[in-house]
């Protein structure tokens, strides 16, 4: 089933037009010793009905557990219209809008996306998206090194309250270009990065400071104090933000009064399903002064030959297909389809819908934490303000408890033991507006049982 329309008569006529005796003859420039026989390691074809059955069986085996994991990917309600429209063939099966006149739909969607994400972050310019939040941070670090001409050091301060996977991606993606990442420890009592911890860099050349808000623990950093430290000394600030939270929290464009230099984040919460890890999209916004150092596609509004407004890819002189080895990045695609979904999501939710989603998520998490910490041996790790995620500490190892919950169809949170071994028996939990009071009660009941059956440490 290779979706090939040719009839035997077509093949004959086409070979005749070419002047070849067989299809095989068309490969006669390939050295014969390289040609292969059957691909034994690929199974025989299934028809669509058989594939449908196979996939449905596998999906059923996985089921839909009750989810309390956040840690960078969040389960929110997605209006049916979002993917109903996003998967229309005209969006789904189009390509990069290089032929602008035949791609005004995709181009205008991206322009509207750039407009919305700029407004949400309070920043001046946005690009058409990057692969995901983590790769967006890596690109932001490279961009800061290019744009911060006052700094020679290519040195980035990276708090350990930034998502551990983001820190790994930033290193993996930039390591060969000589960037140095210096990890900033957090206050283990508070779960935030103290502004005083920056003092030891007062007299040093620091290219950029990364600030994640809310941080990986769900705690709110003192973003104004951290940003002001950087602003005072010509260090760039790269904000990593959760887009849903921005309906309630101060946008990075206002941090420290005049805002940050670059703000990035994971766009998944905006209408993109969890889907096992992707596809998601990263967003990137910046001060207008830095736009020529931005990586990735950017759409601009302009006029056509008749003076009518229209949309086109712009500032392409930054990109790899023009500048080749001197490009700002090797990035070629953006995550167009996910940006389409996010733009529709933001249009349907609007300012009030997004605010209510953020508020409800925050309230549900507070209820979850309150419910679970009534159990003996469960306490909250960090006091102080947080947003829609929080760290709990158990009096015994988390992993066996989570395994017990999994058997009961509950994904109880993200075990911090591997990434933060200094936090004894810590679990990151999250509840969004998609969790109900009944869900929370179910979790509490199951956890009570699981703790009883697990031997205290």
């Amino acid at each position: 089933m290779a979706f090939i329309p040719h009839t035997p008569a077509d093949v004959t006529a086409m070979l005749q037009a070419i002047g070849a005796g067989s299809i095989d003859e068309l490969f006669d420039e390939i050295p014969p010793e390289l040609r292969i026989g059957a691909l034994a390691g690929v199974p025989e074809a299934l028809n669509e009905m058989q594939v449908g059955r196979l996939m449905s069986e596998r999906a059923r085996a996985d089921g839909v557990p009750l989810n309390f994991i956040g840690a960078g990917a969040y389960e929110h309600h997605i209006p049916a219209a979002v993917w109903g429209i996003t998967t229309r063939g005209e969006f789904y099966s189009a390509y990069t809008p290089y032929q602008a006149e035949a791609s005004q739909g995709t181009l205008q969607v991206i322009y509207e996306f750039q407009s919305m994400i700029s407004r949400l972050t309070g920043m001046e310019v946005a690009n058409a998206s990057l692969y995901d939040g983590a790769s967006a941070l890596a690109e932001a670090a490279l961009m800061a090194v290019r744009a911060n001409r006052k700094s020679q050091a290519a040195r980035i301060l990276l708090p350990t309250t930034v998502h551990p996977h983001y820190r790994k991606v930033a290193r993996a993606a930039t390591g060969n270009q000589g960037l140095q990442f210096e990890e900033l420890p957090y206050c283990t009592a508070e779960g935030i990065t103290p502004a005083e911890s920056l003092r030891r860099f007062d007299s040093q050349d620091v290219t950029a400071l990364v600030i994640q808000q809310p941080n990986f623990f769900g705690r709110l950093e003192d973003v104004d104090a951290l940003t002001r430290w950087a602003q005072a000394r010509g260090t760039f600030v790269i904000a990593v933000v959760n887009p849903t939270s921005l309906a309630l929290l101060k946008p990075p464009g206002q941090w420290g009064g005049t805002g940050v230099d670059v703000a990035v984040g994971e766009g998944q919460p905006l209408g993109v399903p969890l889907a096992g890890g992707g596809p998601y999209f990263g967003f990137m916004t910046a001060r207008a002064a830095h736009v020529r150092q931005m990586p990735g596609r950017i759409v601009g509004r302009t006029l056509d030959a008749a003076g009518k407004p229209g949309f086109t890819l712009t500032l392409q002189a930054r990109e790899q297909h023009i500048r080749r080895a001197k490009a700002t990045s090797n990035i070629c695609t953006n995550q167009g389809l996910l940006v389409t979904a996010a733009t529709i999501y933001l249009s349907i939710m609007g300012p009030e819908g997004l605010r209510r989603t953020a508020a409800a998520s925050h309230a549900r998490t507070a209820e979850l934490v309150a419910a679970l910490t009534t159990l003996p041996g469960v306490r909250r790790a960090f006091p102080g303000p947080h947003f829609h995620e929080a760290v709990l500490q158990f009096d015994r190892p988390v992993a066996p408890v989570l395994r017990t919950l999994t058997v009961q169809g509950i994904h109880g949170g993200f075990d911090l033991a591997a990434d933060y071994p200094e936090l004894d028996h810590a679990l990151l939990v999250c509840a969004t507006e998609a969790r109900t009071a009944a869900d929370i009660a179910t979790y509490r009941g199951a956890l009570a049982e699981a703790l009883k059956s697990a031997r205290a440490a």
Binding site: D62, A81, R119, S135, G277, G300, R301, L338
Partner: protein
């Protein structure tokens, strides 16, 4: 397709909204723990529209696009083949969509089985020893490949090797990737027949050679016939061979990069394995490696052991180049590629390469007969081929871009224009295997009519397109008077 559509903010009215989609409001007391200094003072200025207004707006925008589902899209090097609907439907089963990326492996065995089997099938069709699925696009796959080459040399104490050889016809991502990996790019020419200039290659290899990046068939639409010789020269100099999988569709089921001597390959799953292009992404750039690079694969990889499937991480692959995405790459795209491969099966794989090549050679022959010049007339087309309109540009003062734009009026997406850069006035045409003979004939007919127009009424071609929502756009104005986000005053300009 001549309508235009307002910007969504122009529909916005204070107090309007898709209320039924909103969660119930929260008691402000539940937000009291958020300090005032960290709160947003005013709501973000997002559009306030009804659900129907949003649905209608975005549906109308979709109708301003060309797409595979609506138009022949012979965009060279992009493999715009039919994206089977089944791939989308079964990748979007509710259980797959609900799966959290950090959920336990125990409750994701169905999902992991699909990814593991995808790795195995991709190994088979490319002739490689290992496959890692996490790179999120071709360019990230390239990055992973070159980063692995560097890691390999470093691990052998041969870290001075930092030169990547790239043919001048290569995709721009190749040199850009080499730079991102801290390498120096050495470009080499191709000869008049489109093959790599072996003397130039011989002259450039040496103790600093990290590797070479090649596409085969090359971006010139022809098979690199002396690939075994290229591999020998580079390997003898101590370098590794990187295969850019952009053109894998041409050889699927016929030849395998691993057998040609390549050490590492990236595959564009959105091309060869028909996952959607989505208006410019998501792609997926899985990488395959030979034995020497197995320890360096990017994580996570799916492993199988007694008891089931699990993620392999840095604990299993301590020499890995690391993690390239927050979670598992473009997982949903991987599911679509898996479904596509299961639908095609082993015989379907071979048919892809065969019929893609048949269509390209047929189209080339017919266009040559209609008066167009092939860039490499003495060569077979692979799955794509290049026309050069140098003669028309000189004699008629009508450029390849003019032809491309006029094709839009005839209901065909334009081929890739002006790539590769070394062929003047070129159109890179890739019909793919899923197009019928009638469609190809209609395309020939359209290009023939445009050629006649170029001779008889050239201004009609030069000023095309005439039937699109907009005429040619002012790119210079777009770059000089940047308008990257909508402002209420921006509409005054129109």
């Amino acid at each position: 397709m001549s309508h235009t559509e307002k910007v969504i903010f122009e529909y916005s009215r204070d107090g309007r909204g898709a209320h039924d989609q909103w969660p119930a409001d929260t008691d402000p007391a539940a937000l009291a723990d958020l300090p005032a200094g960290l709160r947003r003072r005013e709501l973000p200025q997002l559009p306030q529209v009804s659900e129907l207004e949003a649905v209608r707006h975005f549906t109308r925008l979709s109708q301003l696009n060309f797409s595979i589902d609506t138009h022949f899209y012979p965009l060279g090097s992009c493999t715009m083949k039919y994206n089977p609907r089944a791939c989308n439907q079964y990748a979007m089963l509710p259980q797959f969509l609900a799966r959290h990326p950090l959920a336990p492996e125990a409750s994701g065995q169905g999902f992991l089985a699909c990814l593991f089997e995808l790795q195995e099938m991709l190994k088979e069709v490319t002739g490689m020893r290992g496959v890692a699925l996490s790179p999120m696009a071709g360019a990230q796959g390239e990055f992973a490949g070159v980063a692995m080459i560097r890691a390999y040399h470093r691990a052998r104490g041969d870290g001075e090797r930092n030169e990547i050889i790239v043919p001048e016809a290569a995709h721009g991502t190749n040199p850009a990737t080499a730079t991102m990996c801290g390498c120096v790019v050495r470009e080499i020419p191709v000869d008049a027949a489109g093959d790599v200039d072996l003397a130039a290659l011989q002259a450039v290899v040496g103790p600093r050679t990290a590797g070479i990046m090649l596409t085969n068939p090359s971006t010139l639409g022809v098979f690199e016939r002396r690939i075994a010789e290229v591999a020998r020269i580079v390997h003898e100099a101590g370098g590794l061979l990187y295969y850019d999988g952009a053109n894998l569709n041409a050889i699927l089921g016929k030849v395998r990069p691993g057998d040609m001597g390549f050490d590492v390959i990236h595959m564009n799953l959105h091309k060869t394995f028909s996952t959607p292009h989505g208006g410019g992404g998501p792609g997926a750039g899985a990488v395959g490696v030979g034995a020497r690079l197995l320890p360096f694969m990017p994580i996570p990889v799916v492993g199988r052991e007694e008891g089931g499937y699990r993620w392999l991480t840095e604990r299993d692959l301590p020499q890995s180049i690391g993690r390239l995405s927050a979670f598992m790459g473009n997982a949903g795209v991987l599911l679509r590629a898996y479904i596509y491969m299961r639908l095609l099966g082993r015989d379907g794989m071979r048919q892809v390469g065969e019929f893609a090549t048949l269509n390209a050679n047929y189209l080339l022959r017919r266009l040559a007969a209609a008066g167009f010049d092939a860039a490499y007339p003495q060569r077979r087309a692979s799955h794509e081929f290049i026309l050069t309109l140098r003669r028309q540009a000189r004699e008629l003062n009508v450029t390849a871009m003019d032809f491309a734009k006029r094709l839009l009026d005839y209901g065909f997406h334009a081929p890739t224009t002006y790539f590769p850069l070394l062929v003047p006035e070129c159109l890179l045409i890739e019909p793919t295997e899923t197009e019928s003979r009638e469609t190809l004939d209609a395309f020939v007919s359209a290009l023939s009519q445009i050629l006649a127009e170029a001779q008889n009424e050239p201004e009609r071609v030069r000023s095309a397109p005439h039937t699109m929502p907009v005429r040619r756009l002012d790119d210079v104005r777009a770059a000089r008077q940047l308008d990257l986000a909508w402002k209420p005053s921006a509409q005054q300009e129109s």
